[in-house]
């Protein structure tokens, strides 16, 4: 790791202003990607702006038909929260599947969503639930937020403050973990709202996306069997040591069917 300057602001404004004043800064949330990258000397920020002291980025709250999660909420807090378990149990389940205990006690939802790792779990929920990403500047719809591999709509210095997730009638998340890293090779969240079914997919493509063909099939018939003949083209899908694009496309179908079964059983 190279030397860097360390800052610990207590407000969003202070954090942003420290960031904008630094030469090559990085926000530090849980640090679950940033710190290993720095240790490998692949990242060498001049300044780290540690967000752990910003109270405005913390907390789990239900507001009418929305669940509001502060960006600094750690995965373990989501996994064990009564509020989350009542509002969106599938989200608590998802959080409990991330990494391992150590990761869950450090990693945060804001960090995960800001990083947009193609194999992260939270993005599936963000797109499936049609969440809104609230930053220090604006509110970004999940439809516009994820753009490409590690690319989001966030502008330089822009920081996620909270994430607002509409509460579905029912939802379920199924994950096929990478056996080595336990990241999602494929993760699928299926969410049923009064006005339709939404399916969010992570792991398969460069970033999380809504699977419209699956949604159309489930809109007509919310049963696993409805997905039987649905084509999932693998064009543009990720391929690595662990899974080809073709296998990932196949797994999207399997995980979606299983998520629907879980949803119906919930």
């Amino acid at each position: 790791m190279y030397p860097f300057n360390y800052h610990k602001p207590s407000s969003v404004d202070e954090a942003v202003s420290l960031f904008l004043d630094a030469e090559d800064p990085a926000y530090l949330s849980g640090g679950m990607t940033l710190i290993p990258t720095m240790k490998q000397r692949l990242a060498m920020p001049t300044d780290l702006v540690d967000l752990s002291g910003v109270q405005a980025m913390r907390g789990i709250e239900r507001q009418d038909q929305k669940l509001v999660l502060g960006a600094f909420t750690r995965h373990a807090e989501v996994a064990r929260s009564e509020v989350v378990a009542q509002a969106i149990p599938a989200l608590a389940h998802l959080a409990g599947l991330i990494g391992d205990n150590q990761v869950r006690y450090r990693g945060t939802i804001g960090g995960s969503v800001a990083n947009s790792d193609p194999a992260a779990d939270y993005p599936a929920a963000v797109v499936a639930l049609g969440a809104e990403v609230v930053t220090n500047k604006r509110t970004i719809s999940s439809a516009d937020y994820f753009q490409d591999l590690f690319e989001t709509a966030l502008e330089p210095g822009e920081m996620i403050v909270r994430i607002e997730l509409p509460i579905p009638r029912r939802a379920a998340y199924r994950k096929f973990p990478n056996p080595a890293s336990r990241y999602a090779v494929v993760g699928v969240m299926v969410a049923q709202f009064d006005n339709g079914v939404q399916v969010g997919v992570t792991g398969a493509g460069p970033c999380a996306f809504r699977a419209s063909t699956l949604e159309a099939a489930l809109a007509a018939d919310l049963r696993p069997e409805a997905l039987a003949g649905v084509d999932i083209p693998d064009a543009g899908f990720n391929a690595d040591l662990h899974a080809s694009a073709e296998y990932r496309a196949h797994l999207v179908g399997v995980m979606a069917r299983r998520a629907v079964a879980d949803l119906l059983a919930s």
């Binding site: 080595a180 890293s181 196949h250």
Partner: protein
């Protein structure tokens, strides 16, 4: 006195655990010397290149840097290349072709991670930062990372000394007899399989702390090694650091080895050289990424094998052709692993009258390959047990029954490939294992799985291995550069407590406990009154370290024989103390007695008298009570067992879950069942890791794709089931204790058991390891 319960054979708790699990172990990296400096290696990021200019000027200016040494300076040092300790001859009689292997490359690099320079600095951080400032010009060459590609006529050649990249073309057995049997066979089963390359992944990374005392002209090397004396011998006689008495090697606590710490590596040589040149102790501890790139890898065979059977389903011949990948250089035992500890085990547990094996090894632009837990024997067991399983299925016979029909039943049994099995009862562990896994209830469980949309399969792996390396004269004839006996020294103190010095080395094997159990019983004292000392060439007389499952049958046998000598001398002293004829003295349960008197003496009393020397003639009997033994086993010993695996496959995803796993092993006499069970568990996890999860993968540029835990899948607790472990016992006849080695068995029997179970579940002929979800899914899809 005389009332202590026997400790040997009991599950005595590990004496070393309180130290190790409270963080009080002393590993190489814990050793902090005055004036300590740290090394960071500059390693090639390219798999194959000629080295151009090496510019160290920026690194030398970095704050804290003590020195920067390059391959060119090493070449001028007069030190010799790293060497392989086992000579193999090709079938045409030519000696193996050995490429140059300097500890620091100056002309050419041949794999990613090969060291080309070293930076020594006042801190680890400074060394590492400065290492990034060393500029090396690489003139890239074509790359070959696959053993079959290395054989192509137009393949790039790594070493001028090895045309066609071939190190040797070796054979064993009678080819003509095998050809004839194949021609006359009623049925021939042929299979091609890959034994996947593995990364050892010891928990403690390799580490070195080298210093040189100019006033005494003597080196001290702290090193995470499985074989401190062997390493000292190599550093002195092969590398050229001077005579052995000018080198002290210390390997105190070592956190796992699995073979990978039994070799002589470049870093030891370079740190010793740098310590003398720079006048500072030089420490280096591998980062995990360095471990992936530079710890010698394991396995990496491609094999085609044919099994011939007569009309009665009796095996008549086995023909094996193996291509083994040696990596870029011959590692310390690299030449041995695919030959005399591989092909000599191809008879398995079966009475096969004719066997022939041809092994061709080649250099490639990959990390050197050497012994990894099992070393050759897992590769052999996998060939035999896959082949037997496929043959049984082709013949329409129950695979267990087919094995039974062909088991060796009388001992000793000489196979056509060098080995003579001294003892065993293969039927006994097969029957017990099938019983323990409830094979009779399998079909019902298979139906239950099917009802849930899952595919269940049962697979057997009957392994045999040659453990307890080994009989020195025979090994010398087969090419070994060293003898492989083991030594023991027993020092009885005047108060009756005991120090045992062993040349074996514990890096997880529980010697401090198991060895103490035997000695405590022999002298009728408490396990707590026995201290086991190892791992320091200034303390221990000599030894050959621990690998090849030798610590029990060879190392402990030496201790047992030293106990005999102690008892014999103590009896003579006791005779004088009891005033009875020497030949009437007996020693049992810690008491010296004689039919000529009612008086009895305890072990401690005799020990004290041995040192006071007041009551016996020192002209006849020397004072003191200390004995040394060197035990050379007359042959290997042959642990064997049956592993049975039951898997449940999710056909939709290809995920394999191990539902049940039973291992029944014949380790002869067992010293500590808890410790042995632990060895079995560890081996099983490594074998299951090989079968399902682990694989070192290179791309076409020789870059290791699975170079971290993000991509190299180490098995975790939730990947394996609770193991059901049982034992059967036939005594080994090749050591006084009747023991058979237990360290490697788990990793030998389990891979074929797992793969046979998957093939059974899917109804397919073969699937290569590791059987990853995608591979299994594709097999399900194409079988449908």
């Amino acid at each position: 006195m005389g009332n202590l319960p026997k400790a040997f054979g009991q599950s005595v708790r590990r004496k070393e655990d309180p130290r190790l699990i409270t963080g009080a172990g002393r590993y190489t990296d814990d050793q902090q010397l005055p004036q300590q400096a740290w090394a960071a290696f500059v390693r090639s990021p390219i798999a194959h290149a000629n080295i151009g200019e090496v510019d160290t000027s920026a690194a030398l200016e970095h704050p804290g840097v003590v020195g920067v040494l390059t391959g060119a300076e090493f070449a001028a040092s007069g030190l010799n290349d790293l060497a392989c300790g086992w000579m193999i001859h090709s079938r045409n009689g030519d000696p193996m072709r050995v490429g140059e292997h300097p500890a620091l490359a100056s002309q050419r690099v041949r794999y990613v991670g090969e060291p080309v320079a070293v930076v020594v600095a006042d801190s680890r951080q400074a060394a590492r930062a400065a290492a990034e400032l060393v500029m090396v010009d690489y003139d890239e060459l074509p790359v070959v990372s696959d053993v079959e590609a290395a054989a192509a006529p137009d393949a790039v050649v790594l070493h001028d000394a090895a045309p066609g990249n071939q190190c040797y073309d070796w054979e064993i057995g009678n080819r003509d007899a095998v050809r004839k049997a194949l021609d006359e066979a009623a049925h021939v089963t042929e299979i091609r399989l890959i034994n996947n390359r593995l990364v050892p992944n010891a928990m403690e990374p390799r580490a070195v702390n080298a210093s040189y005392d100019a006033s005494r002209d003597r080196y001290t090397l702290y090193v995470a090694s499985q074989n401190p004396h062997g390493l000292r011998m190599t550093l002195a006689a092969v590398i050229g650091f001077g005579p052995e008495h000018k080198i002290r090697v210390i390997s105190e606590d070592v956190g796992g080895g699995f073979g990978s710490k039994a070799f002589n590596y470049a870093e030891e040589v370079v740190c010793m050289w740098a310590a003398k040149r720079l006048g500072r102790p030089v420490k280096w501890t591998a980062e995990r990424s360095e471990s992936f790139l530079t710890d010698a890898h394991g396995r990496d065979h491609i094999t085609t094998a044919r099994l011939a059977m007569d009309a009665n389903h009796r095996i008549t011949a086995l023909d094996v052709s193996t291509h083994a990948n040696l990596g870029a250089y011959l590692s310390t035992f690299g030449s041995l692993v695919p030959t005399y500890v591989y092909a000599t085990l191809l008879s398995g547990q079966y009475d096969i009258p004719n066997i022939y094996a041809n092994v061709v090894t080649r250099y490639t632009n990959t990390t050197p390959v050497d012994a990894y837990r099992g070393a050759g024997r897992p590769e052999a067991g996998y060939v035999v047990e896959r082949l037997v399983d496929v043959a049984a299925r082709e013949l329409g016979i129950d695979p267990a029954e087919f094995r039974r029909q062909n088991f060796i039943r009388t001992f000793p049994h000489a196979t056509p490939v060098e080995m003579t099995y001294d003892s065993g009862d293969f039927q006994a562990h097969l029957d017990k294992a099938l019983d323990m896994i409830d094979a009779a209830g399998f079909e019902a469980r298979r139906e239950a799985s099917r009802a849930e949309g899952k595919l269940r399969g049962l697979g057997i792996g009957c392994y045999i291995e040659a453990a307890g390396i080994g009989p020195s004269a025979r090994l010398g004839k087969l090419g070994s550069g060293a003898g492989l006996w083991e030594s023991a020294e027993i020092r009885v103190n005047p108060t009756g407590s005991v120090e045992v010095l062993t040349g074996c080395h514990s890096h997880g094997q529980s010697h401090e406990t198991t060895y103490a159990q035997l000695v405590a019983d022999r002298f009728g004292i408490s396990v707590d009154d026995v201290e086991i000392l190892h791992g320091d060439t200034d303390v221990v007389q000599f030894g050959m370290g621990t690998y090849g499952s030798r610590s029990g049958p060879v190392g402990l046998s030496a201790i047992d024989m030293a106990c005999d000598k102690i008892v014999a001398k103590a009896e003579k002293i006791a005779a004088h103390l009891l005033n009875v004829p020497a030949d009437t003295v007996t020693f049992e349960d810690g008491e010296f007695a004689s039919e000529a008197t009612n008086e009895r003496l305890g072990f401690a009393e005799v020990a004290l008298n041995a040192y006071t020397a007041h009551h016996f003639p020192t002209t006849e009997i020397e004072p003191g009570l200390k004995e040394t033994t060197f035990f050379d086993p007359p042959d290997f010993n042959f642990p064997a067992g049956t592993h049975v695996c039951e898997v449940e496959v999710d056909p939709a995803t290809g995920v394999v879950r191990i539902a049940r796993f039973v291992a029944v092993d014949d380790f002869g006499v067992i010293g500590n069942p808890m410790v042995v069970e632990g060895q079995v568990h560890g081996g099983l996890v490594q074998g299951i890791g090989q079968a399902l999860l682990e694989q070192a993968r290179y791309d076409d540029y020789g870059q290791l794709l699975s170079g971290s835990y993000m991509d190299y899948c180490m098995p975790r607790a939730d990947d394996v089931p609770d193991f059901d472990v049982g034992f059967t016992e036939t005594r080994s006849t090749t050591n006084p204790l009747g023991m058979k080695g237990c360290g490697e068995a788990g990793s030998i029997g389990s891979p074929p058991a797992v793969i046979n179970a998957i093939c059974d579940a899917l109804g397919i002929r073969h699937i290569d390891m590791p059987a990853t979800p995608e591979k299994v899914w594709r097999a399900v899809t194409s079988a449908a």
